[in-house]
């Protein structure tokens, strides 16, 4: 998936639109302000409950864009899960067990980032030294995460950097929100129902999801129902055939 495809699919932001340019500018400015080597925007794929790298500045777009990060994985996934800015560093080995409580002796033996470290680390041979991840929210609902990464040894991001990123993410959220409102207004004026972002599938109640979807299609695009019927019949034949 390309950058623009991810933005358009999940945020309805068109290629070369003002919104796309504003988001890119925000990512660039944020990375510059905090001295990050790389800044990225990940968008939420609500069906998969994963984040998808949609835009990156300073990193290799060919490697990053389209990569997925599960919600909860690493600092980026944690920011998405908690709706809070996360600031930290990858996991390292070190021990102060047995010492009295107080300040730790600190790391002694740096190691490659583990799964609990930022998922970004898996995508690049270089291990990030520090990461900021700030959630983008619209009406308290997650739409994506923006990140800053540095590879400079010993470098750390501060709480002030995190606060700045929280504000940048808030502005990016407003950009997405405005785009959605414009889309809804455009749809209303064209006499078609506004596009509904794909809802997360409740794995325990897929029948309801299908029924809701069919109901929406009946109202907004009845001509599509024949395709749905054919698709369902094909899936049924495949599934029951395989089971039999």
């Amino acid at each position: 998936m390309t950058e623009l495809a991810a933005l358009e699919t999940f945020l309805a932001i068109s290629p070369k639109s003002n919104e796309e340019q504003v988001l890119r500018l925000l990512i660039e400015l944020g990375a510059q302000f905090v001295g990050a080597s790389e800044g990225s925007l990940l968008v939420l794929d609500p069906r998969a409950n994963e984040l998808v790298f949609a835009m990156t500045v300073g990193g290799d777009e060919r490697v990053l864009v389209g990569q997925r990060v599960p919600i909860g994985a690493g600092l980026t996934g944690l920011a998405a899960a908690t709706h809070e800015v996360q600031i930290g560093a990858p996991t390292f080995r070190g021990a102060w067990q047995g010492e009295p409580p107080g300040e730790p002796a600190g790391p002694t033996e740096p190691a490659a980032p583990a799964a609990a470290g930022d998922a970004r680390a898996k995508l690049d041979a270089r291990a990030p030294e520090a990461v900021i991840a700030a959630p983008m929210l619209v009406d308290d609902a997650l739409v994506g995460v923006i990140t800053a990464v540095t590879f400079e040894p010993g470098r750390r991001f501060t709480g002030a950097h995190g606060e700045l990123y929280a504000r940048i993410a808030a502005v990016a959220g407003v950009v997405v929100e405005q785009q959605r409102k414009l889309e809804a207004v455009g749809a209303m004026s064209a006499g078609r129902p506004p596009v509904e972002r794909p809802a997360r599938i409740d794995e325990d109640a897929p029948e309801r999801v299908i029924a809701d979807c069919v109901a929406r299609l009946s109202r907004g695009a009845p001509h599509a129902l024949a395709h749905v019927a054919r698709l369902l019949l094909e899936i049924e034949a495949l599934s029951l055939g395989a089971a039999g």
Partner: protein, 252 residues
Amino acid sequence: MAGPLARALRERLEELLVRPLAPIEVAVLDSGIDATHPDLAPRVRAAFAAEIADGRASVVERPRGCNHDVFGHGTAVASIVARQAPNASIVDYRVLNADNTGAGDALVASLDAAIDRGCRVVNMSLAARREFGPKLLHHCERAYRRGVVIVAAKRNMPLADLGFPAEYTAVIGVDRATFPSLFAVRYQPESVIEFVGHGDDVVVAAPGGGYTTKTGTSFATPAIAGIVALLLGAHPELRPFEVKSLLKALAS
């Protein structure tokens, strides 16, 4: 606070802290804890998880000595409490799910369970959505009357509120700053969030046995919760308002 009263309180505090400490149970309401981590294995006394069924949250006991952490956040938080307070036994209440659903109801149910269990300190390095505010307030008041000290994080991200339950007066709300030590405390009477702890670039445990560094109010909160566990360990009869007063006396 300055002057002879502050001096007397600090001297009294120092005396308290060298006394033998009573064991204190600290509930950590978070993403679960990796109880296999060497720092936490001997310290996690019990583990629970909030489960949502038919729209209702219930708290279910989980096996001890396992990794229940779905995000790594709770392990980080618990490791700070463990380091701060050698008398703290940690009770793991997992309220955050991998898909972040049901967190509000899970939080309320787990808080209730921690109060009923008799945990003296509850660490909440998280903030519930505003709609859970009234429900949470009721349970925080109940905790206050039962002598349970709730320590809760301010939101990192500027939103319409500073975070619930951190805003409530029955709770010790915590903001973060850079201090030279995890034992440093600042009191800010002009703010809804009265206390500030060290929460920048804190070395914490990570699931799987390693360590990492984290910055945020989530990590300043257990630093304060650890101090509260020490105070209660020295004087278990202290009530939540007295603990607040002692923290204020201790503050710079």
